[in-house]
């Protein structure tokens, strides 16, 4: 009588050990998402055959699709587990860790590379200080619509997971980080630091590694117009180069 949800999870006990598949049957509840499946498993950590196993490790924080932590590959598609509603998933629900980042345990991966890349491209506004310097520069509300969108990027890595150019043997910085470069170029103060930022964006692993395969934009849960953004960044680069040449 009681409905169950079939779940297959690609597990890995430690960063170096081999991956293996485990199967679970979880009692169905209305409104379940992948997170509540994993929570149910740890409250009764037995696999489908009834054998007691270690609870599955995964990463999560906000459960509202604003932190990016719970990203994993669900039924072959990279997305956030907290917005993956069981009612809308085919069964068995297949869960895998992201493949472009090193696995630490089960569904948890190490995405430090994203943050290192943000550091690489000066993804910030260089202000004079944190004391009271009065109001910031005025900004066109239309620009805000664009910058807000870019700024919703939660460093989840979906765009990198699907990008053919982003691999563990190269150092391509990925679409999200390029989007952040664009964001800071658009800020009135950030724009003053554009040349230094663009230097980094065109450095090793930079924008030239993007093959314009356009996979990233389809995968972004925040619907950030990544391809358009990469185009705009290209224009920034050309313009800066032309201006630089004129000054010489």
């Amino acid at each position: 009588m009681s409905k169950t949800v079939e779940v297959r999870i690609k597990r890995q006990d430690s960063p170096k050990s081999p991956a293996y598949w485990a199967e679970f049957a979880v009692a169905y509840e209305e409104g379940m998402n992948v997170i509540s499946l994993l929570q149910a498993i740890r409250r009764d950590p037995k696999d489908k055959s009834g054998k007691t196993v270690a609870p599955v490790t995964w990463e999560s924080s906000c459960l509202e699709e604003v932190c990016g932590a719970c990203t994993m590959v669900i039924n072959g598609q990279v997305r956030q587990a907290c917005t993956a509603l069981v009612d809308k998933l085919e069964q068995p629900v297949k869960l895998e860790p992201m493949s472009k980042f090193p696995v630490e345990r089960d569904l948890r991966v190490n995405r430090q590379r994203i943050f290192d890349n943000l550091k690489k491209i000066n993804a910030w506004v260089e202000v004079d200080g944190y004391h009271d310097l009065g109001p910031g520069p005025r900004q066109n509300p239309d620009d805000q619509t664009t910058t807000y969108k870019l700024s919703e990027c939660m460093s989840c890595g979906c765009c990198m997971e699907v990008c053919p150019q982003f691999t563990d043997i190269n150092d391509f910085i990925g679409a999200a980080v390029l989007g952040q470069a664009r964001l800071f170029n658009m800020h009135p103060t950030g724009a003053m630091q554009m040349p230094a930022r663009l230097d980094k964006v065109t450095g090793p692993g930079g924008i030239q590694d993007c093959g314009l395969a356009q996979q990233c934009v389809k995968a972004c849960p925040k619907h950030i117009p990544l391809v358009e953004t990469i185009g705009a960044l290209q224009r920034d680069i050309t313009l800066t180069q032309v201006l630089g040449a004129l000054k010489k």
């Binding site: 006990d13 430690s14 960063p15 409104g31 379940m32 998402n33 997170i35 509540s36 929570q39 740890r42 409250r43 009764d44 950590p45 270690a54 609870p55 490790t57 999560s60 924080s61 906000c62 459960l63 509202e64 699709e65 604003v66 932190c67 990016g68 932590a69 907290c82 917005t83 509603l85 009612d87 630490e104 345990r105 948890r108 190490n110 995405r111 943050f115 943000l118 550091k119 993804a123 910030w124 506004v125 260089e126 202000v127 944190y130 009271d132 310097l133 009065g134 109001p135 910031g136 520069p137 900004q139 509300p141 805000q144 807000y148 700024s151 919703e152 939660m154 800071f184 103060t189 950030g190």
Partner: protein, 647 residues
């Protein structure tokens, strides 16, 4: 230079603000966080951040913001830090704007502001409907800038487990555990800043993130840091029931015109759109004509809960009421509330632009926290650059953000938390810099660092080896259900006593729980034993303090001790007003005190003491959100003063 290193535990708004300020002032910082700091709980904040910038020509001012905050908190907050915060708020918002926060703009390109609960002014700056995320990102970027300069080291995916105190009881470092390799390490530092957020998970399913264990707070508390006002926890009136979490619809939904209603007739089974306007009961608007749907959170939550549980008017007899935005145009809603309405649709599969949302109150926020102190100047404001600001009772240990007890008294106003987090962070940056300048403490001896690290390793080994029949995640669920049922919306002493017994039971069962996982890598279960122990420790403080406080104040509602105001139709001359005010003054005398919970290792329950509240700027008065009674209070006080003058 390592003697100038400050250890900041927590990378939410508060921790990151402290880190960037400390770096600006020449210090070096180690930041610890259970997740990448960019994934901290602060990202959840939707609605906005308060500051009386007064760009709408409404005559708003920092002082009015101060008055709203103090009154909103039912006078339980010490006033000097709150005054300083409200005065600094406009500059903090300007700073965040300069850092690149994508705040919404007016047509003239200025910051836009909206109205939030508990105020009559447009005082809340916002960035779409993910203001917390946007603020956090800008601070994260600044800290990354310092990281690139080599001033900051980040330890992300690490859990703080213990303070290292020298023989004089002063903080000289911490122990933390790498949650991937499970290894422990000691870190020396001349000051420790606890910016570890709220302890919401003791209430089970809440609006909080999955990392809000409060385990850092519990660890510090067990080592002697006091905990202020544990019983003061806030319920959010508009939670969305969910299987893993109670997501919320921000107060801004009401700010943008959202109307709360239930069918006027009990048992009305018709779908919402078949109920004619006259048969819809807009109970907040009818009961609170001045503030309407924007009454403070505690009042809204109680009204919503009671209209379902006591009056039986919930939708279809369930614990749910409508929050209705359908009278607003879709375009307007998309522009103002896009992201949060998305959340509702994503998790409930219904479009709130077309169909009213269903909501019910949920645990949301802790006003209480680690007891943070302050020093004042002669005007009763925070003394600038005092090392005492935000310092706890343990020298060198600071508390900021939701983890401190300081800014919100018995109830927090919407959009005041983000401000208090950033403000306290900036203040704390200055405090630790001042401490570094004056500190003569010797750096921690390596033998002490080793000993404390060993202590934590041993404790963890024991947890790992635990192999009893109980499942800690099951115990947690039961703890959360019990706390939510008996210690949230309304409190009754008999139920609280019962709850105390239940918590003792959970504690006993925890000793018989299994770590479930023996692995030495990414082990979430063994550490959960420690986290759950922390939740149980803090739950005791919450429940014990709630049991003792025999009154209603702010979010703490104990109906048996209520002192309800006479109805707004009662004439001013009616003696009911005098009786009400006499009781109010007596209650103030007894209970206008900060609860201080102290851990006593020799007892299984906390020692609870009380401290006077610093009310030097504004005398307590009854809260009045009905718009009447103001005159009655003045008359009463005039008479009283005259009598006192005579005597």
């Amino acid at each position: 230079m390592s003697d100038k290193r400050v250890l900041i535990v927590g990378g939410g708004l508060a921790g990151l603000a402290a880190a960037m300020k400390a770096c600006e002032l020449g210090l070096e910082v180690d930041i610890f966080s259970m997740v990448h700091v960019k994934r901290s709980h602060s990202v959840c904040a939707q609605g906005g951040i308060n500051g009386a910038v007064n760009t709408k020509g409404e005559g708003d001012s920092p002082y009015i913001h101060f008055v709203d905050t103090i009154k909103g908190g039912d006078f339980l907050a010490d006033q000097p830090p709150v005054l300083s915060m409200c005065e600094a708020a406009p500059a903090v918002i300007n700073m965040m704007d300069r850092l690149g926060v994508t705040f919404n703009r007016t047509p003239e390109g200025l910051l836009d502001f909206r109205r939030f609960g508990g105020t009559l002014h447009h005082r809340t700056a916002f960035a779409g409907a993910s203001t917390g995320q946007q603020l956090l990102y800008s601070l994260d970027e600044q800290v990354r800038r310092w990281e690139a300069e080599g001033k900051v080291r980040k330890f992300e995916n690490w859990e703080f487990t213990r303070l290292i105190l020298d023989k004089d009881g002063k903080a000289v470092g911490i122990v933390a555990q790498d949650l991937s390799t499970m290894e422990f390490k000691s870190f020396p530092g001349f000051a420790v800043v606890l910016a570890t957020g709220g302890p919401g998970l003791m209430f089970g399913k809440t609006t909080n993130s999955t990392i809000n264990f409060g385990s850092a707070t519990a660890a510090a508390y067990k080592q002697g840091v006091w905990y202020g006002n544990p019983e003061m926890v806030q319920i959010h009136p508009t939670g969305i029931p969910g299987s893993d979490k109670l997501r919320l619809i921000s107060e801004s939904a009401r700010g943008e015109g959202g109307r709360v209603w239930v069918p006027r007739n009990k048992g009305d089974k018709r779908p919402w759109n078949e109920i004619p306007p006259a048969e819809r009961y807009y109970f907040l608007e009818e009961r609170y004509p001045l503030y309407g749907n924007l009454v403070p959170r505690d009042i809204a939550s109680r009204e919503i809960a009671l209209i379902c549980t006591k009056e039986g008017l919930g939708i279809g007899g369930r614990n749910a009421v409508y929050l209705d935005l359908t009278h607003r145009s879709e375009e307007y809603l998309l522009k103002k509330l896009g992201a949060i309405l998305d959340i509702y649709e994503k998790f409930r599969g219904v479009d709130p632009k077309k169909v009213p949302m269903e909501i019910y109150p949920a645990y949301h926020y802790s006003m209480g926290g680690l007891y943070a102190g302050y020093e004042t100047d002669e005007t009763g404001r925070l003394l600038k650059n005092s090392p005492a600001n935000q310092m706890t009772n343990i020298p060198g240990v600071y508390a900021i953000g939701e983890a401190d007890h300081q800014y919100h008294g018995a109830n927090r106003l919407g959009a005041n938390s983000l401000m208090s987090c950033i403000f306290a962070g900036l203040v704390c940056g200055e405090s630790v810099a001042a401490l570094a300048a004056n500190s003569k403490t010797a750096p921690a001896e390596s033998s002490l660092l080793e000993k404390e690290c060993k202590h934590e390793e041993e404790a963890y080994k024991k947890l790992l080896a635990q192999d009893g029949p109980e499942n800690p995640f099951v115990i947690h669920k039961e703890l959360g259900d019990a706390m939510s049922a008996f210690c949230l919306i309304e409190r009754h002493n008999d139920e609280l006593k019962q709850l105390q017994g239940m918590i003792d039971g959970f504690e006993a069962r925890l000793k018989k729980a299994s770590s479930l996982d023996k692995s030495g890598s990414g082990n979430m279960s063994a550490v959960f034993l420690r986290q759950l122990d922390g939740m149980i420790t803090m739950a005791k403080a919450v429940v014990d303090a709630a049991l003792l406080r025999d009154e209603c104040r702010g979010a703490h509602s104990k109906p048996a001790f209520d002192n309800p105001a006479p109805s707004k139709e009662t004439p001013i001359e009616d003696p009911a007003w005098t009786a009400y005010y006499e009781k109010f003054l007596a209650q103030t005398q007894t209970w206008l005190k900060t609860t201080v919970a102290k851990h006593d290792p020799s007892k299984s329950h906390p020692t609870i003491e009380y401290k006077e509240v610093d009310t030097r700027h504004l005398s307590p008065e009854p809260r009045d959100y009905t718009g009447v009674g103001k005159k009655a209070w003045k008359k009463f006080m005039d008479k009283r003063k005259a009598a006192e003058a005579k005597a």
